[in-house]
Symmetry: C3
Subunit: 210 residues, 3 copies
């Protein structure tokens, strides 16, 4: 399997996992068929579209490549027709989701650098590629984005994007840099799920006493 | 009346109907004067602005053509000063809204193709042109976008955008293609209002039993 | 102090005040560390990023200049570690916020004109530069944007952007134009806070009786 094929595979796996998460959330809120497909698509492609608009990659890949829309439609169809099954598979879906998170963060940071922008932009836009779709899903469903509230999710993406951006700027253009970044992000995310790690949160009370 | 004048007329009618819907929603939520004008403008121009950003039409038409802002201010003024009248006219406003929906979907798909992008982008961005403003209105008013929940609204726009995009790609550059697409979308929307058609929705219970 | 240094100072003061307001709101909603930093950054830079995307200034300044992210991180750190102190300083923070509002409105309108766009775009995007971040903060926190509901806030920004845009188009390229616009916006905002001025709001009852 060539590197390019592996990249495409990871991209589609991540897109699929994100689309499933959007479709499940839309289905729970009892949206109609159009709503479920839209939310699957937005969750899967929203982050990448924001990244592409910001770096000047027009039209955004999520719009110009028809495969993303097909993946979203398939995910929506699966969730609608086999909802009970999808729920039982929530554990593998979480693993796919972690793979998508890792891949999107690293690929997003890489694409930003390739379009000639700086490290700062690469770190922010790598993170946005990975978590932007989930944030849009939550906004559409009228709730505060989960990733801003708990779990080590966005921070794992941020770490991977920063690792990739700094390594590429330093000149480590070796093959293994993106794979290491992806593996690190996946490991952090997996362990935080496994052991229920969280970033610190600050209640007003504690802060006032402190 | 030339085709161009008819296009401009449909554009302004649609903009006006969308602005009315934004202003009415803002007024019901008791926003202040600035809030009512902003929501009228965002509902009328939001979808087109997202489309123009995605296809690289900078600056977006909603920003560069002062007539859109004027239409939004007039709609806001009407809603504020003649609220009772506007409510009594809700039926004609729904017809104007259906005209706007049809025109924006078809024109959005056409503009996307003209900027050199593919069929997939044209279908998605035609739909976004037509429904994006309404989605932004609902996000600002802190509710799940209505178009994701019920009624054949976004799907009528999607159908018209797809019809136009496929016909233009196949090479039917005949004059009647856009008008047919507009008429079809308007008819679908009108009939769904008249007979209360909806897309299927899926309750969790049913899905689990199924 | 040169004009350029003064501009930079005002820009950073405004960014800091906006970041504080985002971090305080995120902290109150008990978001985690990543959430507090994200909301500080989005509130400070969101409006400018939308403006830059619309005028074609790619990549947006909020992404390419690392100082904005640093300011957001510092503001988040202050709010987390010294929450009681920040609350006691709410009065100076409001003054900084008014300075930021004035500067962003005027600078946003100026930058839009410099990129070759018209007066209408300059007025709208000047206002968006000043209030867009606050709107995004409120969307993320799942509430209707405050600026659409009450207080003379967005309207002060709109006034300053319009003053600057019209003066520049008329050809008054004199040094004092931006400073006058900034001073006017700051004064309007300060007086509206001091005397609790509001734009008119329209209850449905009154409107129906009228």
């Amino acid at each position: 399997m060539t590197t390019h094929a592996l990249f495409t595979l990871l991209d589609l796996i991540g897109t699929f996992a994100f689309a499933i998460s959007g479709a499940v959330a839309a289905h729970q809120k009892k949206l109609d068929l159009f709503g479920v497909i839209s939310l699957a698509y937005v969750t899967a492609c929203g982050g990448g579209i924001i990244r592409d608009i910001c770096i000047g990659a027009i039209p955004p890949a999520g719009l110009s490549d028809w495969r993303y829309l097909v993946v979203a439609v398939i995910a929506a169809g699966l969730v609608i027709s086999m909802n009970a099954l999808v729920r039982r598979l929530s554990h593998p879906v979480l693993l796919f989701d972690a793979a998508g998170l890792s891949f999107f963060a690293v690929f997003g940071a890489h694409k930003t650098l390739q379009f000639g922008h700086g490290i700062g932009a690469a770190i922010i836009l790598g993170t946005v590629s990975a978590v932007g779709g989930g944030v849009m899903r939550d906004l559409f469903l009228n709730r505060t984005p989960v990733i801003l509230q708990k779990e080590i999710y966005a921070s794992a993406a941020l770490f991977a994007a920063a690792f990739l951006a700094i390594a590429e700027e330093v000149g480590w253009s070796l093959q293994w840099v993106p794979w290491t970044a992806i593996a690190l992000c996946f490991a952090i995310r997996y362990l935080s799920l496994r052991f229920n790690w969280n970033l610190p949160r600050f209640s007003d009370d504690k802060a006032e006493r402190g």
